[in-house]
Amino acid sequence: MKIAIITFPGSNCDQDCHRSIELAGGSPSYVWHRETSLRGADAVIVPGGFAHGDYLRPGAIARFSPIMDAVTAFGEEGGVVVGICNGFQVLCEAGMLPGALLRNESLSFQSHHCRLRVERTDSVFTSGYRKRQVLGMPLSHADGSYYADAGTLAVLEEERRVLFRYCDAQGNASAEANPNGSLKNIAGIVNARGNVLGMMPHPDRAIEAVLGSVDGLPFFESIVGAVAREEVA
C-alpha cells in the first residue's frame, strides 16, 4: 500500500501525514510537485500548508504544478485521493471537488479544537468510525468556509456526499458549532464517485493520545485498509 504525499514548496503537514500513514500501517512516500508521475502509488494525499504561498487564493497556483495532471488522472480512474486543509482547497481549485473555500466568516485565521460528526461509515474514508460518531480534532485555517451554489449543495446532500459536518459535543450541527461559516456546516465532502475526499480539519494532528486526540487514526486506517483490500481501483 504505497501512499503518495504530494509536497509543494509551502507544504507544512507533509510530515504529519507521513507519520499518520505509518501509524495506520501504510507505507508513505513523498512526491515533489514538479514530478509528473505518482510512481505507482495506491493512494494520494494532498497535505496541508500554503502550497505556493497562497497569496492570491489558496490552491489557485498549486493546481498548475506538474504533478497535478497525474493526480487528476488518478482520481478520474477511481484512485483514492485525499485533500486535507490546503489539500482540500487545491482539489477544489483543480476541479476535482465542487465548490470553493472562502475566507472564514470571522476574517481571522482560526486554530483550535473542533468537533465533527461522521455522516456515513460506508465510505473508504470512514469505515473505521461509528455512524454519527462525534470526533474531536484540530482545525487551522484562514480560508475554510465551504461554499457551493444552491444546485451543487442540493446534489451533495442528495447523493450523501457530505462525510463530515461541524457539530457540538452532542452531535448537533448547530450554528454555534460552525467555526468558519461553511454552508450546512460542511467540513468534508467527496466527489460523485466517492473516491476523492476533501476536508478542512486535521485528522493528521489527532493520531496520538499525547497530542490530545486519536480520533484521526481510524481515518487513515480506513484508507489504508480499503486500499489493501483493493476496494478501490
Binding site: P9, F50, F109, S111, R205
Partner: protein, 778 residues
C-alpha cells in the same frame, strides 16, 4: 539625505570583477554623494568623538558609503554600545551550553544527540509604525536567526506589551500585531508555543513586540555565521534588495517623536512568509550539503552587518560588488544596497567551486542566488560598485571597535516615590471582595489570551504537547519521547518599581512556568526593552535589571545564551516601563509525563506549595481596583524558588501530580480560577472548595503576587507523599482544599470571608473580556 544615484550604475551581471586589480585602489567619493559635514555625521547617530575615532581608524575622511556603514555597525542595535559592558556580567556558561552569546542564536545540548537553538528579538519600532508588517517581519527575522544555525524552527513564542485596551489606537496595534505574527508564522508552518500579553498605560505610545524562536538540530549539524577560507565565494540568496528599511538599525536606536509616522514610511518592511519558507528549506538543505562554510541572515543593517560580522568572527576580510546584488528597484546607490533591510535575504559563504551546486539547491526552492564577492585575507570590509571601490574599512574595528559606554545611573524620583508609597491605605476592595475577584480575573492582563493564540497555528507538525493556555509550551523532539519547554515572561510593573527585583522575578517566573510542566529549566535568552540609555534613570533601570537577571540566572543555573537590547522605546521623552523579557527554555525526558495546569477529578486534594506573604506592590489588583502602580514589588527568595522548582520536578517525575499551576499576575485568585476553568473548547471546568488559614488581609492573600508558589493536585491517596517530598525540599506545603464537581462554583474561605464564584460567571469574565473589547468597533 539620500543622494541621487550616479549615472552608469550598471546592473549587468558580471559587470564588475571583484578580484580585478582595480580593487586595490582606495575608495573615492561617488559623484552625487553628499559632503561629510558635522550635521550629516549627527544625522547618522554618531557623536563628534565617535566620528574622530572613525577618522583615526580610517586614517582619512570616510566616504558617504563608509559613514553609512559605521553608522549602522556602531548603532545601538548592532554595536550594543550602551549595554555591552553590563551584559558581560551575565553568566553564560554551563556544561550543556554549546553556543553562548555572540552568534545568531544560542544553542544548548538537550540530550540524545539533539541541540536546541533559541533566540528572542524585538520589533518594537517597526510595530509602532505598522503593526501588521512590523510584527510579521519580527517573526521572519527570528526564524532566520535560528535556521541559519542549522536548526529547524519548531516553535515560536512572543511577548507583547501594549497600552490600555480602552484606547482605539492600542486596539489597532494589538489587533495588527497579533494578525501579523499569526499570518507569518502560520504560512511558514511553525507552531506557536506560547507567549504573554500585558496591557498597561506604561506602554501607551510604545508597544513592545518581542518574538522568540526555538529550533532543533543534531548536535553535529551546528553551523556558525563565519566567513572562512580565503577565496571562498560570497553569495546573496533569497529576496531581492529594495529600498525598504534603509537605516532601520539606526532608526531602532532613536526615539520616536510626534509626526514620525510620515517620515518613517519608506522604512516599512513588508514580510513575505512564503519566501521565508523557501529560504528555510533551502538553507537547511544547503547546510546539510556541506557546500557552504557560513550563512547569516541579512537582518538589521542588511548586507553590511552580515558581511562585516561574518568577516569579524573569522578574522578574514570580505570583498563584494554591489552591482552584482540582485535589486528590486533601478538606480539604487551602494549606500542603499548596503543598508537596505529588505526581508528574507541571506548571505552565504560557499566553498570555492561549489557555487553551481549551491545554485542548484536554491533553484529547486525557486530562489535566486548571485555571487557578489569573496572572502579575502585583507581583514577589511571592501565594497565595489562595478569594480570601483566605494568603501574599504577594517572589519574588526567595525565590530569590536564600537565604542562602549557605561553611564552614571540614578533612580528616578518619581519611581522612588511610587515604590515607597504606603499602599496599605489602598488595599480595601471598593465594592467588596467578590467584585474585586471578578475584576482581577476579568482584567485583560489576567484573562484568557485565547483570542490571541487561536489566531496562531499551534498544532502544525503534530508535536505540540502543551499548547498555549497553560504555564509553558512543550514541543516534542520529533521521533523521540523527549520534549523542550519554553516560556516568555516579564511583569513590566514589577520591573518599573524595582528593576532588580522585577528582573529576578521575571527569571523566577519563567523558570517556574517551565518547571510546572515537569521540564527542567536550562537556559535563557533575553530581550531588554528600555528607554534612552542616555538618561540617568534609564541607565539605572538597565543596570539594576541586568544585575537582577545575573543573580537569578546564576542561582537557578540557567545561563544566558544570547539576547537582544532595544533602547529608545520612548515617545516625546516618555519611556516605556523597563521590560527585560526572559525567554526560558527547559527539557523534559518523557513528554508522557507533562503536567498540565487544569484541575482534573472531583475529590482530588488541592495543595499550595510555597508560602503566602501577601505582596500587593505593583499588583494587578492595585492597578485594576485602585488605578495604582505603586509599592515594593514582590521580592524573590532565590533559594526558596529553586527548592520549589526542584520539588515540583521530582513530584512530576514520580508522576504524582495531576496538575500544577504557578501563581503570578492576579495572585491566587487568578491561579485558582484558571485551574477550575481548564482549557477552552476541549476541557471541562470543575469547581473547587478552598480554605486558607493565613492571617493576612483578604486582598493580600487572594491577589498578592508573591513569588515561589504553585497550586498542585494529586490523587487522594498520594497527598501524604507529596507533603513528605515538600518537607524534604524544605518547601512549605499545605492542603488548601478539594476539587469539586464540573459546573460547581469556586468557593473560597479565608479567616474573615467566604466567597462563592459561579462557574459560568468566571467563565464569562475570563474568556469574554478580550474578544468583547476587540469585537467592538473602532
Amino acid at each position: 539625505m539620500m543622494a541621487g544615484h550616479a549615472p552608469g550604475n550598471g546592473r549587468a551581471p558580471g559587470a564588475g570583477n571583484p578580484r580585478s586589480p582595480a580593487t586595490l585602489e582606495a575608495p573615492h567619493p561617488r559623484p552625487g554623494d553628499p559632503a561629510i559635514t558635522p550635521e550629516l555625521v549627527e544625522d547618522h547617530g554618531l557623536s563628534p568623538d565617535e566620528y574622530a575615532q572613525i577618522r583615526r581608524i580610517m586614517g582619512r575622511q570616510p566616504t558617504f558609503t563608509e559613514l553609512g556603514v559605521f553608522s549602522a555597525m556602531w548603532s545601538e542595535h548592532c554595536g550594543y554600545k550602551n549595554s555591552k559592558r553590563l551584559l558581560r556580567l551575565l553568566p553564560t556558561q554551563a556544561p550543556w551550553v554549546i553556543q553562548g552569546p555572540g552568534e545568531n542564536a544560542g544553542v544548548i545540548d538537550v540530550g540524545g544527540g539533539h541541540a536546541l537553538a533559541f533566540k528572542i528579538e524585538s520589533h518594537n519600532h517597526p510595530s509602532a509604525v505598522e503593526p501588521y508588517q512590523g510584527a510579521a517581519t519580527g517573526i521572519g527575522g527570528i526564524l532566520r536567526d535560528v535556521f541559519t544555525m542549522g536548526a529547524r524552527p519548531v516553535a515560536t513564542l512572543n511577548s507583547l506589551h501594549f497600552g490600555d485596551l480602552d484606547r482605539p489606537r492600542v486596539r489597532y496595534l494589538f489587533g495588527g500585531v497579533v494578525k501579523g505574527i499569526g499570518d507569518y508564522g502560520n504560512c511558514v508552518g511553525i507552531p506557536s508555543a506560547g507567549g504573554e500579553v500585558y496591557f498597561d498605560r506604561g506602554y501607551e505610545d510604545n508597544p513592545i513586540v518581542n518574538a522568540m524562536c526555538l529550533g532543533l538540530m543534531r548536535t553535529d549539524d551546528l553551523i556558525r555565521g563565519t566567513a572562512e577560507g580565503v577565496g571562498n565565494t560570497l553569495m546573496a540568496v533569497g529576496a531581492r534588495t529594495g529600498r525598504d528599511g534603509i537605516h532601520g538599525a539606526t532608526f531602532a536606536s532613536e526615539e520616536l517623536s510626534e509626526g514620525d509616522d510620515e517620515a518613517s514610511r519608506p522604512q516599512v518592511q513588508v514580510g513575505d512568509p512564503f519566501t521565508e519558507k523557501l529560504l528555510l528549506e533551502a538553507s537547511l538543505e544547503l547546510i546539510a550539503s556541506g557546500h557552504i562554510v557560513g550563512i547569516q541572515d541579512m537582518g538589521a543593517a542588511g548586507l553590511t552587518s552580515s558581511g562585516v560580522e561574518m568577516a569579524g568572527r573569522s578574522g578574514t576580510g570580505v570583498e563584494m560588488d554591489v552591482a552584482l546584488v540582485p535589486v528590486r528597484e533601478a538606480g539604487m546607490t551602494p549606500y542603499e544596497i548596503l543598508l537596505s533591510e529588505s526581508q528574507e535575504r541571506m548571505l552565504v559563504v560557499a566553498e570555492a567551486g561549489k557555487e553551481d551546486a549551491v545554485r542548484e539547491i536554491l533553484e529547486k526552492w525557486e530562489l535566486e542566488a548571485e555571487t557578489i564577492g569573496s572572502v579575502t585575507a585583507t581583514g577589511s570590509f571592501r565594497v565595489l560598485e562595478d569594480g570601483v571601490a566605494v568603501a574599504d574599512i577594517p572589519a574588526l574595528p567595525l565590530t569590536e571597535g564600537c565604542p562602549t559606554y557605561e553611564r552614571q545611573g540614578e533612580e528616578g524620583d518619581e519611581v522612588r516615590a511610587l515604590r515607597q508609597m504606603d499602599i496599605a491605605a489602598h488595599t480595601d476592595p471598593p465594592a467588596g471582595l467578590e467584585d474585586a475577584f471578578l475584576r482581577v480575573v476579568g482584567s485583560p492582563n489576567v484573562a484568557s489570551k485565547q483570542w490571541v493564540y487561536e489566531q496562531y497555528d499551534t498544532t502544525v507538525r503534530a508535536n505540540s504537547i502543551e499548547r498555549p493556555g497553560g504555564d509553558a509550551g512543550v514541543i516534542r523532539i520529533p521521533g523521540t519521547k523527549r520534549g523542550v519547554a519554553a516560556s516568555t515572561d516579564c511583569n513590566g510593573r514589577h520591573t518599573y518599581l524595582n528593576p532588580r527585583a522585577g528582573a529576578m522575578g521575571a527569571v523566577a517566573e519563567a523558570a517556574r512556568n517551565v518547571a510546572c510542566t515537569g521540564a527542567v529549566p536550562m537556559a535563557i535568552t533575553n530581550c531588554l526593552n528600555f528607554g534612552s540609555p542616555l538618561k540617568p534613570h534609564i541607565q539605572h533601570q538597565f543596570r539594576e535589571a541586568v544585575l537582577g537577571m545575573r543573580d537569578a540566572c546564576a542561582f537557578l543555573e540557567t545561563p544566558v545564551t544570547g539576547g537582544n537590547v532595544s533602547f529608545y522605546n520612548e515617545t516625546d521623552g516618555k519611556a516605556v516601563y523597563p521590560t527585560p523579557v526572559i525567554g526560558m527554555v527547559g527539557v523534559i525526558d518523557d513528554v508522557e509525563t507533562v503536567v498540565r495546569h487544569a484541575f482534573r477529578d472531583p475529590g482530588d486534594p488541592i495543595l499550595l506549595l510555597g508560602s503566602n506573604t501577601g505582596e500587593l506592590g505593583g499588583s494587578e489588583y492595585l492597578y485594576v481596583l485602585h488605578g495604582l502602580v505603586a509599592g515594593e514589588p514582590p521580592p524573590v527568595d532565590l533559594a526558596a524558588e529553586r527548592a520549589l522548582q526542584r520539588c515540583i520536578l521530582t513530584m512530576a517525575q514520580l508522576r504524582l501530580l495531576k496538575s500544577a499551576h504557578d501563581v503570578a499576575s492576579g495572585g491566587l485568585a487568578a491561579t485558582l480560577a484558571e485551574c477550575c476553568l481548564g482549557r477552552p473548547r476541549t476541557g471541562r471546568s470543575v469547581g473547587a472548595a478552598v480554605n486558607f488559614a493565613d492571617p493576612l488581609p483578604d486582598t493580600a492573600l487572594l491577589f498578592g503576587e508573591d513569588h515561589g508558589r504553585a497550586v498542585i493536585t494529586c490523587a487522594p491517596e498520594d497527598a501524604d507523599r507529596l507533603l513528605l517530598h515538600a518537607e524534604n525540599y524544605g518547601v512549605p506545603c499545605a492542603r488548601i482544599g478539594t476539587v469539586t464537581e464540573p459546573g460547581a462554583p469556586l468557593e473560597i474561605e479565608t479567616p474573615s470571608s467566604r466567597l462563592r464564584l459561579e462557574a459560568e460567571t468566571l467563565r464569562k469574565r475570563y474568556y469574554g473580556v478580550i474578544p468583547d473589547i476587540m469585537n467592538q468597533a473602532g
